[in-house]
């Protein structure tokens, strides 16, 4: 095999997810004439923005060999905190959002500390966080769905436009690009991958696994906070149950995008495509008039299929051969 052929094959491999996305769009546009309309696509865009922003930080949890189940609750709580600060305490919106972000970082830091220094599995720690963050959100908001009518500057984040495009798109692109650079081109990115690939080897090579992991959970919670702020501004609502199932969508997007839940590999670009696909699937179910009680079933099956295709370990032969035909993902 000569070099150009090898390169072409690699490119095909890299673009594989993209082809699957196009295929999904083609299928949906055949099934529903409303799918390829501007109105519908911009609807999808909102949910893609929220999931995409969350993914940009969340992805570091699986890359370092962990998981963060608290991102949905974190996002919902962020909207509520921001509203309290702006409209009850009366702080101007910019410092209010800065404080909200600091709260998010602090909660991520707590998740990281408990996971690393107390040795509790990330799954448990963040599941507990998911629950207590929801609890705080319920307490602060009395379980009410709060409508946010002001300040204008805050509401502009969600509904404003710049050069004809909604501002949330800029935010998503910015955090996705930043996350991509962080993963591929910085010392932290290298350390995160090393810790996920082999913690002991990384430690012996001078990496501090605990510090790297704590940073991963801080990033995850911070991105979820940003997503929560955007969501609150976009929907003009703060509601404890608002972000309930987002962690599942985020996990789906990241796994579909080729990130290993075993740690040591991940792709931010893949996660973005995954986020778009999750958006389309949810949207498609709506367009096809599937009852909303049907959505979790589909999301669950998609996660399972993506896991089977992307993860290593013991696999039935037919899946291995399928993986071979598709090219090995997740690099």
């Amino acid at each position: 095999m000569n070099l150009t052929a090898a390169k072409a094959r690699q490119l095909l491999k890299d673009l594989r997810l993209f082809f699957v996305l196009i295929l999904l769009m083609a299928v949906l546009s055949v099934l529903s004439p409303r799918f390829l309309t501007l109105g519908n696509l911009s609807n999808v865009l909102w949910s893609v923005c929220i999931i995409g922003i969350m993914c940009s930080g969340f992805i570091y949890a699986p890359i370092t060999g962990g998981i963060d189940l608290s991102v949905g609750s974190m996002a919902a709580l962020a909207g509520i905190i921001a509203n309290v600060l702006m409209n009850q305490v009366g702080i101007p919106w910019v410092p209010a959002l800065v404080i909200t972000l600091a709260c998010g970082m602090f909660i991520g830091f707590i998740n990281g500390i408990v996971t690393t220094k107390f040795g509790v599995p990330a799954f448990i720690v963040t599941m507990a966080a998911k629950t207590y963050l929801f609890g705080i959100a319920m307490l602060v908001s009395n379980g009410d769905m709060i409508t946010i009518m002001k300040p204008k500057g805050f509401l502009a984040i969600g509904v404003g436009k710049l050069f004809g495009l909604p501002i949330p798109i800029y935010i998503m692109v910015a955090v996705i690009v930043a996350s991509h650079i962080l993963l591929k081109h910085t010392v932290f990115g290298r350390k995160a991958i090393a810790v996920g690939a082999n913690e002991v080897a990384a430690k012996l090579s001078g990496v501090d696994p605990d510090r790297t992991r704590i940073m991963a959970y801080v990033l995850s919670a911070t991105a979820a906070t940003v997503a929560g702020i955007v969501m609150a501004s976009l929907t003009q609502q703060a509601y404890a149950a608002n972000a309930g199932g987002y962690e599942l969508d985020v996990i789906t997007a990241v796994v579909v995008g080729g990130t290993s839940l075993m740690g040591g590999s991940g792709s931010v670009a893949g996660a973005l495509i995954g986020a778009v696909m999750v958006g389309f699937i949810n949207n498609g179910l709506n367009l096809l008039n599937m009852p909303s009680s049907f959505h979790p079933l589909v999301t669950g099956v998609v996660i399972l299929l993506a896991l089977l295709l992307n993860q290593g370990g013991k696999m039935p032969k037919f899946i291995l051969s399928m993986r071979k035909r598709l090219g090995d993902p997740g690099k």
């Binding site: 910085t186 010392v187 082999n198 002991v200 990384a202 012996l204 090579s205 001078g206 040591g264």
Partner: protein, 511 residues
């Protein structure tokens, strides 16, 4: 050769002409091995002699390529399996104990064989406990059936393992280095138990590097070397020196085994004084000179690995001091790396490589200081660095983007060493650097170590491979039970000398 025509004693297990290879070189060739009922039989040999493979074949963990096995008069087919072996009464007392934590002694002993209540099928806990206690009392162990495993010492847990095997009606118990993590009192207790087992007609196959144990306990000793049977010694011929001679088996006039130690006079790079770590090693003092290869010998569990880990700064020590290049030194991994240390750990796959990551990624991670500025990594510099390492050590295939897990063992190890060689290295610590790698890669590793030393880098070499240790080292320290028991600094040293010191057989020396 193994002769078991002695008709007066019943043969329990008879293996003939066992051959085994794991796609490649023969690990066992035509090995005959037999055990009598109620005997204590030791299996000895250097690392790589084929002991563990033979055990794996007997216990059905792995299959044999050819040869016959007869157990209690019945032929064991090629479909022999682990469960099959258990059914026959062949039990292994594992080094890494296989008890379930959180359960009681009785629950572990009766796992999957719990006595049930009639009709209901519920476990009869009282009956289980009383049966277990009866067995414990019969052997006079200091245990209660209702003790929970977590609260027991290592020695007591081993006793539970033995009880579990007894409860499974074992007629052959295999113990692989059973004393490696026991205190001497616990070891003595274990020997008592083994003798009791023998009195009950149970055969014990005992594997140990500790010659005095083999010497004290065994009725017969089978010596393996390079996958072949060397000799079976009867009781009256069992003597530590004789066993060591047979294990090593090389003639002393062979050029490799005639190794001359020589004190290097260069600058003292590392000065360790009175280093101790509770339960690991105590009062270790050593000096390492520039360009010197210091070998550290001793048995597995003698504290070798723990000592070098402490020097590199992975684990903290309790007392003692270290100075590096003439200045007081507080160990710590990052600090060590900055100071010019390199560390090649003992378990390549578990501690050395990041298998799913490319060669470049594996090499880059220890060199972030030279390939990154202000937090950003230069891909170009990283690739150049990994190409340099690939070229320097002749890593194959020479494709830096390949995941290291896809390389052969030897090339994986070259990556682990290579990531240090491109640094300004002052001291390289290597722990069992050539385990599980082929002869060619081994030779290259030796040349690399020799070249480093000639360039003035100091090397600490921990190895169980005696020819390796004696050939590469300028000086050898032998550790035993966490203390330095012998230093070979001048004159000729043979593998036999090192093994004697490691096993605690010292002529005129204090142990």
């Amino acid at each position: 050769m193994a002769e078991n025509s002695d008709a007066s004693e019943e043969v329990l297990l008879d293996c003939r002409k066992i051959c085994k290879s794991y796609n490649g070189p023969m690990v066992l060739s035509d090995v005959d091995f037999s055990m009598k009922r109620g005997e204590i039989h030791a299996l000895v040999g250097e690392n790589g002699a084929g002991k563990s493979t033979l055990i794996k074949i007997i216990t059905g963990v792995t299959g044999r390529n050819s040869g016959t096995m007869v157990f209690e008069g019945k032929e064991i087919g090629h479909d022999h399996s682990r469960t099959g072996a258990q059914g026959l009464g062949i039990a292994v007392i594992y080094q890494e104990l296989s008890l379930i934590h959180g359960m009681t002694v009785a629950q572990n002993m009766f796992l999957t064989k719990e006595p049930r209540m009639p009709v209901l099928g519920i476990i009869n806990i009282r009956r289980m406990n009383s049966l277990a206690q009866a067995m414990i009392d019969r052997y006079g162990f200091n245990l209660k059936a209702t003790d929970v495993i977590d609260g027991l010492s290592i020695g007591q847990r081993q006793t539970v393992e033995i009880l579990k095997a007894l409860n499974g009606k074992a007629s052959l118990m295999i113990m692989d280095e059973p004393t490696s993590s026991l205190t001497s009192a616990e070891s003595a207790q274990l020997f008592g138990i083994i003798r009791q087992l023998k009195a009950d007609g149970i055969s014990v196959l005992y594997i140990s590097h500790r010659m005095e144990e083999v010497f004290d306990l065994s009725d017969r000793v089978t010596v393996l070397r390079d996958g072949r049977l060397v000799e079976v010694l009867e009781k009256e011929r069992i003597h530590p020196n004789e066993i060591i001679r047979l294990m090593i088996g090389r003639c002393l006039d062979e050029k490799d085994s005639k190794c001359v130690m020589e004190r290097k006079g260069g600058e003292v790079v590392l000065d360790v004084h009175g280093l101790s770590s509770e339960g690991k090693f105590s009062d270790i003092s050593l000096q390492l000179h520039a360009g010197e290869v210091l070998g550290i010998g001793g048995l597995v569990g003698s504290g070798r690995t723990e000592l070098v880990r402490a020097i590199y700064g992975i684990d903290a020590h309790d007392s003692g001091s270290i100075s590096f290049q003439g200045k007081p030194w507080t160990p710590g991994v990052s600090q060590s790396i900055r100071g010019g240390f390199g560390f090649v750990p003992e378990e390549r796959r578990l501690q050395g490589i990041m298998g799913g990551i490319s060669i470049t990624g594996n090499i880059g991670i220890t060199n972030l200081d030279s390939i990154a500025g202000k937090g950003f990594v230069s891909d170009r510099k990283e690739l150049a660095l990994s190409r340099k390492a690939v070229g320097l050590l002749n890593i194959k295939p020479a494709e830096p983007s390949l995941p290291v897990g896809n390389l052969s063992g030897g090339n994986q190890q070259k990556v682990v060493v290579g990531k240090w060689l491109i640094r300004d290295l002052r001291l390289l610590i290597v722990d069992e650097p050539t385990v599980g790698i082929d002869i060619g890669a081994k030779e290259e590793m030796y040349q690399t170590i020799a070249r480093l030393a000639s360039e003035g880098v100091s090397v600490i070499l921990v190895s169980s491979d005696l020819p390796e240790l004696t050939r590469l080292s300028d000086r050898i320290l032998v550790l035993r039970k966490g203390r330095i028991v012998k230093e070979f600094a001048e004159g000729a040293v043979t593998e036999e000398d090192v093994l004697r010191a490691s096993s605690g057989i010292l002529e005129g020396g204090a142990a």
